[in-house]
């Protein structure tokens, strides 16, 4: 079973986000970067499947040179090799990102391609489905369970209707939802071995510019902090002042 997992380098969910001097991107000062949590769940499940069935796990990452750190982390967790699409920046929309990833994934052996449900920075939740569409592969999003057998995947998908049990022919694309797998910590041995694993680095062309980030700004501050004496007063305020019930 040859598995490909696409990962993204993002600010940690505990990070405070400050707007940078350009007014269009974040100030990376003091921010810890990590593998996007849902991508990490996808990677963990891919590693488990490899341990159960044999095969390979290849990590693909579109990101700046600094993303080498997150790629090493993925290799230390147990991925076999990596492809780093080095992005000099400039901002790409989901379609621009997906085109580059689809081209890269298309050139690798893949019985299944795994993504996180969304990257926790841009919050589009689109790239997995886009890559599937561009490669002509079936796609199941929001997977909380993924089992792969010869030529067939059986997955649980969390939808509004409940948990859907879905069968899909491989190769296919899956996106990970919380609950799929709890990412492991790399072992010391894993960290040592990761240093010797191959990373294929490629430069990518600049973005098309069809989608422009014009501005990044902090959200409006909430004027919170008002204290209410008791439940009775609160119920009255919600009814008469806030008019929300």
């Amino acid at each position: 079973m040859d598995l490909v997992v696409c990962i993204k380098r993002v600010p940690d969910s505990a990070a405070r986000i400050k707007v940078g001097a350009d007014g269009k991107s974040i100030d990376p000062g003091g921010v810890d970067f990590v593998i996007s949590p849902y991508d990490e769940m996808a990677l963990e499940r891919a590693l488990q499947i490899k341990e159960e069935k044999g095969g390979t796990v290849t990590v693909v990452c579109l990101g700046p040179a600094e993303a080498g750190k997150e790629i090493r982390q993925a290799l230390a967790m147990g991925a076999d090799k990596a492809l780093h699409l080095k992005d000099a920046g400039g901002g790409r929309g989901p379609l621009g990102v997906a085109k580059l990833l689809a081209e890269a994934v298309g050139g690798l052996p893949h019985d299944a391609v795994l993504f996180g449900r969304q990257a926790i920075d841009s919050d589009n939740g689109a790239v997995g489905v886009l890559v599937a569409g561009l490669l002509g592969l079936p796609c199941v999003t929001l997977c909380t369970k993924i089992d792969l057998d010869a030529g067939k995947g059986t997955v649980h998908r969390e939808s509004e209707a409940g948990t859907e049990v879905i069968e899909v022919k491989l190769p296919a694309v899956f996106t990970a939802q919380r609950g799929l797998a709890e990412p492991r910590y790399p072992s010391i041995k894993g960290i040592m071995m990761a240093k010797k694993k191959p990373i294929d680095e490629r430069d990518v062309p600049p973005p098309s510019g069809r989608l422009q980030v014009e501005k990044l700004e902090p959200p409006a501050e909430r004027k919170g902090g008002r204290k209410v004496a008791d439940a009775k007063e609160l119920a009255r305020l919600l009814r008469e002042e806030a008019k929300v019930i």
């Binding site: 600010p11 969910s13 505990a14 990070a15 986000i17 929309g93 989901p94 379609l95 997906a98 926790i120 919050d123 589009n124 689109a126 489905v129 886009l130 599937a132 569409g133 796609c139 999003t141 929001l142 909380t144 509004e160 209707a161 409940g162 948990t163 859907e164 049990v165 879905i166 899909v168 296919a172 939802q177 919380r178 609950g179 069809r210 989608l211 422009q212 980030v213 014009e214 501005k215 990044l216 700004e217 902090p218 959200p219 909430r222 919170g224 902090g225 008002r226 204290k227 209410v228 008791d230 439940a231 009775k232 609160l234 119920a235 009255r236 919600l238 009814r239 806030a242 929300v244 019930i245």
Partner: protein, 327 residues
Amino acid sequence: MGSVCAFLESAKGKLKKSCAEVMGEGRRLAGELGGSLDAVILGKGATALAGDAAALGADRVLVGDADHLANFTIDGFIRPLAKAVAASSPRLVLMAASVAGKDLAPALAAATKGALLADVTAISAKGGTVRVTKPVYAGKALSTLAASSELVIATLRPNVFRPAAPEPGRKAPVEVVETGKSAAEIRTVVREVLAKASEKLDLTEADIIVSGGRGLKGPENWHLVEDLAEAVGGVVGASRAVVDAGWRPHSEQVGQTGKTVSPKLYIAIAISGAIQHLAGMRTSKCIVAINIDPEAPIFKVADYGIVGDAFEICPLLASELKRVIGV
């Protein structure tokens, strides 16, 4: 070429609540673009909903109705949607940023090479450029994006846009969309649906959410949250700490690695307010916090806070809310 095409989602034989929001915004944007507003409805039994789409302001309704569209699948829905969009030839396709919309919009972008703007909270089309505001980093920042593509596909965050008021009896021409051949072409087959979710709304669409945190000490105390939700007709949510501890399912998690919500009323019970939780609910219209710790960060964003023991306050608040709602 200045028209807007709105994809309308249905469930249990009715248009979903978000459809009025999509149509309200669709009508406004069609005005800015100087074009008309088409609505697309797909699903088994979709034909019966064409009148409802007309009532919400559609100038034309495109319907794809077939047995193999009974369950939502990307494979099943993308073909008729792409056909409908080709027939409509819009500048802008709109749909709700719902579970299905988040699947369909990127699938449509892959099929049409249109630019995708996901989960937007404001949108304009003045001067022909589609410009949106979109929360990023789970709402810790807002991004303004401009798309110059010929075709733009945008998903609208539920509960943000002003819904269209239905005009009963309003009529619009209905056209049939080819739905593809059969279920055999759908490569993802839904074998069954387990643990059917309650009849309640999904968190992202709920008007009122009551969430509980670790201060409730254990899953056995969750009735405090549920009773309060029941009293105000709300949906139950949870903090990450509670989900990580296994007290509640991850589908109820509100926050940066859970669901991002903007209900009319968000009640946080015994939730301290970690950055990643605040990111997921800070756009709620009214926030209430109940916490024993007066220094809890949740109070900084709460419109109304009560410092005190949730175990005492919740039952009192439930009965007080029932009383005032009953008035």
